[in-house]
Amino acid sequence: MSALEITASLSYIVASCLFIVGLKMLSSPASARRGNLVSALGMLIAVVATLVAQGMDYHWILVGATLGALAGAFAALRVPMTSMPEFVALFNGFGGIASLLVGWAEYHRSLSLGAEIPFAAALPIYLAILIGGVTFTGSMIAYAKLAERIDGKPTLFSGQQIVNAAILLGVAVCLVAFLAAPAGPYAYWCVGFAIGLSFILGVLATIPIGGADMPVVISLLNSYSGLAACAAGFVINNTVLIVSGALVGASGIILTNIMCKAMNRSLPHVLFSGFGAAAAKTGAVYEGEVNPITPEDAYYMLEAAQSVVFVPGYGMAVAQAQHVVRELGELLEKNGADVKYAIHPVAGRMPGHMNVLLAEANVPYEQLVEMDDINPRLDTVDVAVVIGANDVVNPAAREQEDSPIYGMPIINVDHARTVFVLKRSMRAGFAGVDNPLFFKENTRMLFGDAKQSISALIAEFKTA
């Protein structure tokens, strides 16, 4: 090892430590922003160490890096917070394709140099290409669904499982053939097939998954993008790639797990069942009277309330109502009420999406409460205000054994003294399940666009 190489290796250790410290600082909102900077510093050190250590031709690096930095910065500074799910999906995909390209480029280089390609290099090359490819096209489909460029409904066709099985078989055959002779005459064909098959697999794996299950898919793809980076690390024998890729992989797996638990469903069920395509047929249909109210009535009840809990869902993001919600929350606080925002783990289209939207609207993070913390306290709450959420507050999950969402943990808003449900019209949620909450005695329906309804309430407070 030359002195430069040793310095580079030591820098990689420093970079890995900075990533770890950065993630550790994410454990509290107070230190999180500095943690992100620490992590970015780690990245800078890793990049500089690589550039300095190896005799390099910077020409093309400069071209690629400039283009990437401009595109990345432009996108990051412009994306609205409501679009974060599709943004993250897109970026997962870029991470995946980068790992695929690294695997391919390294393979091509080894071949052209006439170097031996041992098993320990061939396997990671294949895996980097495979995982990277699946991550790339899977993420592009997830992006298109989330950005509503294509229909968000699950796409199922007959024989889908057979096609999937055939592709997996093809992947396995190519793997064996490739490992048998990574520098042999057919090896490049195997790599080519692996790229093509991984692309098809990514598409086929994502199209059967419905819009409401996207939090799971993005988390899973997040994990894949990390594992692809890991595989690339094995290809170039680089520990910093392996450590950081593994951290990201673990992160994605944990989030996937949290999302699945919050929907009371197993990962295979999310991935393969096409949930939402057929579910609308099952489940009881509720009959009964709903109690509609006017903003004026709602105002009188809120004005008298000692404690109010807002329960936001994806509908709040769609209506762009987060700012008026915060304004109403402040008015209620001035009026002497205790105000909290209860957030279900799968509210929105990605983990933590609602929290970001409310933070953007200047809600202090102390007021954001998790489901498990609010549920025991809900029977002391005067008014629970449900804004654009449906399935995550559906008591059928608790009471109705034949409901498709039975067993899913929900925010028990029906335990509050009064529930306001802000809703455009009477229509089933994303799971296609009717909601008995709307027919409960303590429920009041405030029909109309969420933003307008809240604005009307604010107007009532201001004129009073």
Partner: protein, 98 residues
């Protein structure tokens, strides 16, 4: 092979470390966690730099490497910037509120 085993060892330990670290991240920060870890997965840039810049790279590897540099840089720059943007919004009651 010995080096491969060592790398594998590193990988397994890092996965466990990841589980420990990430399980401490509160739900309220899960979106910044995802975009931030996205930026970290842009570490592939190290591999991309080698492919694009190594003097012994054939032209196809340089092309692939350059594309990889571009994609990974999007991830790194975009990921860290958007995470910073988001985390700046999380304010405490005592802190940045008027």
């Amino acid at each position: 092979m010995g080096e491969f085993i060592l790398l594998l060892f590193t990988f397994v330990l890092a996965i466990f470390l990841g589980f420990e670290l990430i399980s401490k991240v509160p739900a309220t920060l899960h979106t910044p966690l995802m975009s931030g870890s996205n930026a970290i997965s842009g570490i592939t840039i190290v591999g991309a730099l080698v492919a694009a810049g190594a003097t012994d790279s054939p032209w196809l590897s340089v092309v692939l490497g350059t594309a990889a540099v571009a994609f990974a840089t999007i991830n790194v720059v975009g990921g860290y910037l958007v995470t910073d943007r988001m985390l700046a919004m999380f304010k405490s009651r005592q802190g940045g509120r008027p």
